[in-house]
Symmetry: C2
Subunit: 349 residues, 2 copies
């Protein structure tokens, strides 16, 4: 099967042997999305070698008996307390025994060891021995097939198209913000960055009814969320809004975004750090102490709230699709995804 | 009157004119304490010129009608929800009209403008136009007399000696941790740094019953809190406790302390930043995002919980006194306070 791989400092589409299930589910990938993390891996920044990709939608090819049922993502079966799903709606639960070949699925990307304290407490996302699809120790989704533990897979409702479902993972990451903090209609919220992540974060935060502004550089990107009634401001005008916000999401991935976030925050405000920067970033710690700022890291989120948002049409993800390439053109697609002004680039096997 | 001043890059004891009340209270200082912030100001790091000192105990000399009663620290009159005072005990309230000359007092160091949103919401500690005793725009406590708004002063109960009361401000700063987070008996807590601030933080956190360890370099300093039943570990052995703690207080004031704090934290743990570092500190942001750490800044605290701890003897501050100097020997006292192994150096006018 074809797979887009980064190996020996080289990115290429390689013909790989057929996957062996090894007690996991095998999924035929329908569509996968290129994330900035993929670009960083292909620049050699992340220390991963293998098949790239962690955003996908696919169809179950085969389901094996799970070797290690203890590694189930038990946190997925708990109702969300903070996610913006209307009370009483079903939350996707454990999926062992529920999956059959031919079913459309998306998949959570962290696979825990099942044995450590964190896994046993239901937090496999932070297991120190976890593998992560296309990021840590596990071949990824830019391929004709992938494999994941059965418990990682969630069946897709018919209402969600493939073009929408391929955004489940990054949308879940945006929803993860609401797992880490409480936001009300009175909260003054800013999002910095109008890339894919910033646009998703702004839309998710928009569902809370908070007083929200998105700061970004690109008018055509800002327009996507402005159409949904979200206030947008170009970043050169951000300094006029200093110390105005209770809650700022840094989703630009740049150290200047971090500095701007500190400037926008009211004393005792919360800076939610959504994007990772490479290497060490210089931070004015005195500002954090004197103004008693909280800096809160946020990485992955649970898929269930994201699927709910997609199902109800509460967020627009399809406007974020810039281009689609065949998987065999994966190297060119990666180059294109790195171009300025691009949003989501998709790969179709 | 004599005052220890930093001016024109020079530290000296200067004979100053008598203070004019200008609608504030004048306090005759009995005893003042040298803080690391004073040392930093005297190195030219903090941009303040004038009389140093913000830790003091004194006696009311005169009380004027407050010019601007709106600048009252109304947050001081609210009962504390998080401070470790037994329920039902009185919390020190507004003090206008209650102070008379001759009364022993301590004083909160931030004086807000009284007009901004923050002051009006009761948070003068973060007023952007505030003055701060001996730190920002207001002569300090290493002097025979100081002045502060009447509402900043708290009468001292007889049970608290001058040697104890002079620790009210730094002890309040340690109590401020409990304003910023919730800690239970199950919380695994570490404090990094066995300086004055670290020893006070450890003792305050000890009152919560949490599972607590203090990491430090100096056996004789660690011994002060070990005597109170707190576990202490020398910092060279800290790496054996990696990823073990839910809550780490960085009170060493060094960037290596910050890095160690990140290493000690469990995923989704809280790093409470108590000490300020100079300039920009390099931080591994990716670690904060991937492990979903919260970095929480904490500066000043309210005095009421600190006075309660002193009154009940729940913390030992007198063991932290290293030496006492006459105010006229203030320059030598500052040099001594900077010596390795020293804890609190006091000045007596």
């Amino acid at each position: 099967m074809n797979a887009l791989r980064y190996e020996n400092q080289n990115l290429s589409v390689v013909n790989m042997p057929k996957l062996s299930a090894d007690g996991e589910a095998i999924v035929r990938v329908t569509l996968s999305g290129i994330c900035n993390t993929d670009l960083e891996i292909a620049r050699g920044y992340a220390g991963f070698e293998g098949t790239l990709g962690h955003e996908f939608v696919g169809v179950v090819e085969s389901v094996s008996e799970a070797r290690a049922p203890a590694r189930a993502f038990s946190d997925l079966s708990k109702p969300s307390l903070t996610a913006p799903t209307p009370a009483g709606l079903p939350v996707w639960g454990p999926r062992v025994g529920l999956l059959t070949p031919g079913q459309r699925v998306v998949g959570e990307i962290n696979a825990g060891c099942g044995a450590c304290d964190l896994c046993r407490s239901g937090d496999s996302r932070h297991c120190p021995n976890r593998t992560v699809l296309g990021i840590v120790g596990r071949d990824g989704a830019h391929a004709e097939f992938l494999k994941l533990p059965v418990v990682n897979l969630l069946p897709l409702p018919d209402e969600i198209s493939d073009n929408q479902a391929v955004f489940t993972e990054p949308l879940a990451a945006a929803c993860g913000i609401l797992e880490r903090t409480s936001i009300t209609k009175e909260t003054r919220v800013a999002v910095i960055g109008d890339g894919k992540l910033g646009l998703l974060c702004a839309q998710v935060l928009g569902t809370t009814g908070a007083r929200l502004v998105l700061f970004g550089k690109h008018r055509h990107k800002l327009a996507i969320v402005a159409q949904r009634g979200i206030e947008t401001i170009t970043i050169d005008k951000a300094k006029m809004r200093k110390r105005e916000f209770d809650f700022v999401v840094e989703a630009s991935g740049s150290p200047t975004g971090f500095d701007l976030a500190l400037e926008l925050l009211h004393p005792r405000g919360v800076l939610l750090l959504k994007s990772t920067f490479h290497g060490a970033t210089k931070v004015d710690m005195a500002r954090i102490v004197v103004d008693e700022i909280s800096v809160v890291g946020s990485r992955c989120g649970r898929f269930a709230p994201a699927l709910e948002l997609l199902k109800t049409g509460a967020v627009d993800v399809e406007s974020l699709i810039s281009e689609e390439f065949a998987l065999t053109d994966g190297v060119r697609a990666m180059e294109r995804a790195a171009d300025a002004g691009m949003l989501k680039v998709l790969l179709r096997p």
